[in-house]
Symmetry: C2
Subunit: 239 residues, 2 copies
DNA sequence: CGCGGTGTTGAGACCTGTCAAGACGTGTGG
DNA sequence: CCACACGTCTTGACAGGTCTCAACACCGCG
């Protein structure tokens, strides 16, 4: 049930069977979330972290005026609120974009886990640093990429991240976001997302229909995005 | 010499004298950096981390076309490349904005330090999560704040971060950045930075002259920025 | 059958970028 | 001591990207 999580970890480091068992035993509960259900509200004290099993989630921040920015998308195998382990409360919301299934891991179990396995401490520290790296790339996108490049970049990132957890088929993957969701990720309006998406379609780079994204020209999309997968740290090594 | 660092830590957690000594002993070397000198180049393998003692540094990412985005500013007491401890290489450059003095801490010393003091592991894990929180706030700025609000927000952030390390005087602080530097932080052009800065001046919110920024109307600036210091995690508690 | 969510389109406004030129201060070399 | 180069700041005119507002099509679902 945590398969995606171990695929993600083993893409980056070596995890022993012992460690895997210990991680699996740390789960205290399995929960279901409905689309738009908020898992963590900004500011709340929390003493558990949550591992995403199925579905897509997101982190988002709100402005006084009600404008919302999604700062990261979370896919199966991700730990959307692992950083609450040291932060104790979060500066952003965490919510479900789709129907989701999650595994709950109390912080006290994480304390035990990381004390018994110093290596896993570094692995999970690495995961929060990886989230930061992804956010950093988004910062670059928002600051310097055009709407078209931003969107292309987002599609490339999702493709690579889904691929390592076995959720792509050829060059396509299930894509549950609405255009309004994409707008909140890319710092644009949904109207402009619509037009930008049409530009990518007209350039024969992607097809998006029936909640499925197909990359028609991966080379072209990577180039349009100025995409370099380095920031996803896909190499396997001791962390 | 690491005073700013301990001020920063003790604002967020309780650090014992024992822990402080151990941290100080982890430093292997002191180095000077000239303005614009690159400390870490994206992609380089590294086995040391660097604690900033004096001066300002920054993390930046580059686009193929040469456009640059600064993703975080680093002030005295910061650990601009602590995340390399688990990442092993970085996805961004780290460079000196001004003349700087830094303390070098080899990763092997960090391994010893964190194994001997599990609490310090969480403290330094917390620090990388704090960097991520700051970056997340910048993502929100770039995605949803206007040029004016973005600039106001940056000034507020710097004010709070400098204040806890004792580098403000009343409502002012030394501000070494050029308008071109600000542009790279805020995802704008230097021409527009110039005009936006004039707008803040005309609104009697700030004065910027002789490399010193004075906040004339803190309330007004906070409001213009929609600033909320929560994301800086300024509360002192066990991490 | 009607409704809400989603996607699409058009027209015009506005924010920010581009390009170009000049002012100013500082440091350097002649 | 002056001439000059260079970095930084400033300003103007114009272009272009993205937003706003509004309307409508489409579809699944109650």
């Amino acid at each position: 049930m945590l398969d995606a999580h171990f695929l993600k970890l083993r893409q980056r480091d070596f995890i022993t069977a012992d460690e895997e068992r210990a991680i699996r035993r740390s789960v205290s509960d399995i929960r279901e979330l409905r689309p738009d259900e908020v898992l963590v509200r900004a500011g709340d004290e929390i003493d558990v972290s949550t591992l995403l099993i199925d579905g897509w989630m997101a982190r988002s921040k709100l402005l006084r005026g009600g404008q919302r920015q999604i700062t990261e998308l979370h896919l199966p195998g991700d730990f959307p609120d692992l950083h609450s382990f040291t932060l104790k409360r979060l500066d952003h919301d965490v919510f479900a974009l789709t129907q989701c299934r999650v595994a709950v891991i109390p912080h006290e179990n994480l304390v035990r886990l990381t004390e018994r396995f110093p290596h896993l401490t570094r692995v999970y520290w690495f995961l929060t640093n990886l989230d930061a790296a992804i956010q950093r790339e988004w910062t670059l996108s928002l600051g310097r990429r055009s709407a078209k490049a931003r969107m292309a970049h987002m599609f490339c990132e999702l493709f690579y991240r889904l691929k390592i957890i076995g959720q792509t088929r050829e060059n396509s993957f299930a894509f549950p976001l609405t255009q309004a969701d994409i707008a909140e990720c890319l710092g644009l309006t949904s109207v402009h997302i619509n037009r930008t998406l049409q530009a990518l379609r007209r350039a024969d780079l992607v097809r998006l229909a029936d909640r499925r994204l197909t990359i028609l020209d991966l080379e072209g999309l990577l180039k349009a995005a100025d995409f370099d997968a380095d920031y996803l740290y896909l190499d396997r090594r001791e962390r």
